[in-house]
Amino acid sequence: LPTPENFDVDGGIDQDIFDINEDLGLDLFEGDIKLNGVQGRNS
C-alpha cells in the first residue's frame, strides 16, 4: 500500500454500484441485475 497518512479504501472516488460494475466491464441488466429469460422479456 502507498504510505499516505490515510489509506482510502475507495481510492478517493465515491463509486456507486453501477460504476463499480461498469468499471469491471460487466454488462448486467440495469447495471446490477442478473436476469432469467422470462424477466428480460417483461421490460
Partner: protein, 657 residues
C-alpha cells in the same frame, strides 16, 4: 416483481462463501441486522433447504430479482461492494425489488435525458409495465435505496436523470439505508406484522406516553411537558420547530429533597433474542449531582411483582444540553425498563428530562463520539477532527479522524493508537472490524437512515516500506499529542474520503441541536475466517411433507421415536414420515441428486444426458439398420420380379413378332 413464485420465506437461508472478503462478511451480517430491525425478514445459515442465497465474491455487486427457485441462488458482493447499503440494495433485488426508476409510472416523476446516456446503455432505463412490476400502492420514492443516482450511465458530466421536483436532484441515489417507502413496500410485499428486533420507540408526543407508568413507591412523578423554565426550552424530537408539539418527560428535582426519587416504568415488553439496547436522550437542568438509574423489572414464573435489577447508574450528567445515552441489557423474560431520577446534592433549579427513547434487541455501539457546534466545521479548514481515544473490547486503543474540510465530501478514517494493553495484544492487529456510523437522530429507530462504513484490520497487509499496516503503533505509528499535551503514537488511518457528501450530511437529522454523533463499534470477526458450517439436511421449509395430520414429522435427526427410529438413510438422506411410513428425503444439488429407497444411488444431469444421448443414438442406429434391411429386401424382391417379368416379356415378344 409480480408473482408469488418469486417470494422467499420470511427467514431466508444463506451461505457466506469462503471467497468473500472478511470485511464484506461482517458488513453482510450488519445488513441482516438492519433487515431484522425494520422488516419481518430474517436470515439463517443454510441447513439444507431447497432454495438459498449463496453470497460470494464475484465480479462486482449483483443479484437476481426474486426467488429463482433454482436451489443455490448467487448474490455477488465483490471488491468495493462491502458497504452496508449496497448489500441492502442487492438483497432487496433478491427479495423481488426492481430499481425505483423502472416503475411503470416513473415518467410522472423523473425525466430521462436519453442523449446523455452512454450509447448502448439505454436499455438500463427501461420501465416495467404494471403487469410485471407492482408499485404496491406506494408513491414514487426519490429517497429509495433502489433509485439510480443522477449520474447513472452518463456519457459526459450532465445528469441522465432529472427529477421533476428539483429539490430531489441530489437525493436520488442515496446509499445510506432503507427509506421509509422501501420498508413500506417490503413489509407489504411480505405481509409483515412485526420485526424480529424492534421493541419500542417513544417520543412522548402522545398523551398516553407509550403506556409508561408512574411508580407509586417514589417521591415525585415525571411530568409530560414541552418546556421547563430552567431548561430544556424544547424537546429533542422536534427541537421546538413545531408549535403545539414537542413533549418530553421531566422530573422537577428543585421541588424535592436530596435523595428523593421519581420513577417511570415502561410497559411490559416481551424479548425474543435475549439481548437489548436502550437508546435515549437525557437533559440535566438541575444539580450536576443529579443521577439517573436504569433498572430492569423482570417478571418470571410465580413472581408477579417482578424482580428489580440495577443495570446502569448515569452520573455526572452534563448540564444544559440533550445528551445521547446507550444502555446494554440482557433480559430473557417479560420485563419493564425502569427510569429512576434521583435528586443530587447542590443547587437545582430544574431537573432531569428524558426524550426519544428507543429499545431494540440489537447490539449497542461500543462508543459514542459527540461533536458539538458541527455546522460551522463543514467545508471549513478547521473541519479536521480527531476523536478522543477509545478502547475496543479486545483492548486495542483507537481514534477516529473526521475530515470535513473537503468542499464536497466528508472523509472518515480509523487509526490504531498506542494504548495501555499493547504489550498483551496480538500484533499485527488481526481481523478487528471497525464500524463507524453517522447517526440519523430521527426519534424513531425504525426511521433512522444512519450512514455507516466498516473497515477490517488485515494482519497481512503491508505498506511499501515493508511494515505491516496494522502493526503496533509504537512501532509503525507517528508521534501525536492529545489536547492535554500527552504524547502517544498514531498508526496510519484507514477509511474513505467519500463517507458522505456535505449535501446529504445537512439532510435528515444527522445534525440536531448543532450536535452530531458518530457511533463506534470494534468487534473481533476472526471467527468469520472459517468456512460456514455445512448444512445437516433437514426437511425443507419449501417442501410439504404430507404427514398424518397432527402427527409430528420426525426426521433422522429428531429425537422423536417412530418409523424413522430404525430406518437409516444413506448419503446424508433425511428420514421423513409420509402416511405413517418412513421414507428418505435424499439430498440434491444443482446438477446431482441421490435416489433410491435409502438414497443409495446417485444421479446427475451429466449421467442423464449421457443416457439420453446414448439411447437416442441406439434408437437411431436401430432405425438405420431396419431401414437399410428393408431397402435391401425391397430391392431384392423387386429385382426378382423384374427378372421374372423380363422372361414373360420375351415370350410375349416372340409371339408378337
Amino acid at each position: 416483481i409480480i408473482g408469488e413464485n418469486y417470494r422467499w420465506p420470511h427467514t431466508i437461508p444463506y451461505v457466506l462463501e469462503d471467497s468473500l472478503e472478511m470485511n464484506a462478511k461482517g458488513v453482510i451480517l450488519n445488513a441482516f441486522e438492519r433487515y431484522r430491525l425494520k422488516t419481518c425478514i430474517d436470515f439463517k445459515p443454510w441447513a439444507g433447504e431447497t432454495n438459498y442465497i449463496s453470497v460470494f465474491k464475484g465480479s462486482g455487486c449483483w443479484s437476481s430479482v426474486g426467488n429463482m427457485r433454482a436451489g443455490k441462488q448467487e448474490l455477488s458482493i465483490g471488491q468495493n461492494c462491502d458497504r452496508i447499503a449496497t448489500i441492502q440494495h442487492e438483497f432487496l433485488h433478491a427479495l423481488g425489488f426492481w430499481h425505483e426508476q423502472s416503475r411503470s409510472d416513473r415518467d410522472d416523476y423523473v425525466n430521462i435525458i436519453w442523449d446523455r446516456i452512454q450509447s448502448g446503455k439505454e436499455h438500463n432505463f427501461n420501465t416495467y409495465d404494471d403487469q410485471a412490476s407492482d408499485t404496491l400502492n406506494v408513491p414514487y420514492d426519490y429517497t429509495s435505496v433502489m433509485h439510480y443516482s443522477k449520474t447513472a450511465f452518463r456519457n459526459g458530466t450532465e445528469p441522465t436523470i432529472v427529477t421533476r421536483i428539483p429539490d430531489f436532484m441530489d437525493v436520488i441515489g442515496q446509499r445510506m439505508d432503507f427509506s421509509d417507502s422501501d420498508l413500506l413496500k417490503l413489509n407489504r410485499l411480505y405481509n409483515c406484522s412485526s420485526s424480529l428486533s424492534f421493541m419500542d420507540s417513544c417520543d412522548f408526543e402522545l398523551e398516553n406516553v407509550c403506556g409508561m407508568i408512574q411508580s407509586s413507591g417514589d417521591n415525585a412523578d415525571w411530568q409530560r411537558v414541552s418546556q421547563v423554565p430552567g431548561g430544556p426550552e424544547n424537546d429533542h424530537s422536534n427541537m421546538g420547530q413545531c408549535k403545539g408539539s414537542g413533549f418530553f418527560m421531566h422530573f422537577n428535582s428543585s421541588s424535592v429533597n436530596v435523595g428523593a426519587t421519581a420513577v417511570l416504568e415502561s410497559r411490559k415488553l416481551y424479548p425474543k433474542r435475549g439481548f437489548q439496547c436502550l437508546q435515549f436522550y437525557l437533559y440535566n437542568s438541575g444539580s450536576e449531582n443529579n443521577q439517573l438509574n436504569i433498572y430492569i423489572r423482570e417478571y418470571s414464573a410465580g413472581n408477579e411483582n417482578g424482580t428489580l435489577t440495577l443495570v446502569e447508574e448515569i452520573k455526572g450528567i452534563p448540564l444544559g444540553s440533550w445528551e445521547l445515552y446507550y444502555v446494554t441489557m440482557k433480559v430473557t423474560n417479560k420485563f419493564r425498563v425502569v427510569f429512576e431520577g434521583v435528586k443530587g446534592t447542590g443547587a437545582s433549579s430544574g431537573g432531569l428530562s428524558i426524550d426519544d427513547i428507543n429499545l431494540s434487541e440489537t447490539r449497542c455501539p461500543h462508543h459514542i463520539w459527540r461533536i458539538r457546534n458541527f455546522t460551522q466545521l463543514i467545508g471549513s479548514p478547521d473541519g479536521t477532527l480527531y476523536s478522543p481515544p477509545f478502547y475496543s473490547p479486545k483492548g486495542y486503543a483507537f481514534q477516529i479522524y473526521l475530515n470535513l474540510s473537503h468542499p464536497e465530501n466528508a472523509g472518515i478514517y480509523f487509526h490504531l493508537i498506542s494504548g495501555a494493553n499493547d504489550d498483551q495484544l496480538q500484533w499485527p492487529c488481526p481481523w478487528q472490524q471497525a464500524t463507524m456510523t453517522l447517526l440519523d437522530q430521527n426519534p424513531d429507530i425504525r426511521q433512522q437512515m444512519s450512514n455507516q462504513r466498516s473497515i477490517t484490520t488485515d494482519p497481512f497487509m503491508t505498506t511499501d516500506n515493508g511494515n505491516y499496516f496494522w502493526d503496533r503503533p509504537s512501532k509503525v505509528g507517528q508521534v501525536a499529542s492529545f489536547p492535554n499535551g500527552t504524547q502517544f503514537r498514531r498508526g496510519r488511518g484507514y477509511g474513505t474520503s467519500a463517507f458522505i457528501t456535505h449535501e446529504r450530511l445537512k439532510n435528515r437529522d444527522f445534525i440536531k441541536g448543532n450536535d452530531v454523533y458518530i457511533l463506534l463499534t470494534v468487534e473481533d470477526i476472526s471467527h468469520l475466517n472459517s468456512t460456514q458450517t455445512q448444512p445437516v439436511p433437514t426437511p425443507d421449509d419449501n417442501t410439504h411433507v404430507n404427514s398424518t395430520p397432527g402427527q409430528p414429522v420426525p426426521t433422522s435427526t429428531s429425537g422423536i421415536a417412530g418409523p424413522c427410529a430404525n430406518f437409516k438413510c444413506e448419503n446424508d438422506g433425511v428420514c421423513a414420515v409420509r402416511g405413517g411410513k418412513a421414507e428418505c428425503r435424499c439430498p440434491s444439488g444443482e446438477d446431482w441428486w441421490y435416489l433410491g429407497e435409502r438414497c443409495e444411488k446417485k444421479g446427475s444431469t451429466r449421467d442423464t444426458i449421457i443416457i439420453a444421448v446414448s439411447s437416442t443414438a441406439a434408437v437411431f442406429a436401430l432405425m438405420l439398420i431396419v431401414t437399410l434391411v428393408s431397402v435391401y429386401c425391397t430391392r431384392k424382391k423387386y429385382r426378382k420380379k423384374a427378372t421374372s417379368k423380363t422372361a414373360d416379356i420375351s415370350l410375349e415378344n416372340q409371339h408378337a413378332f
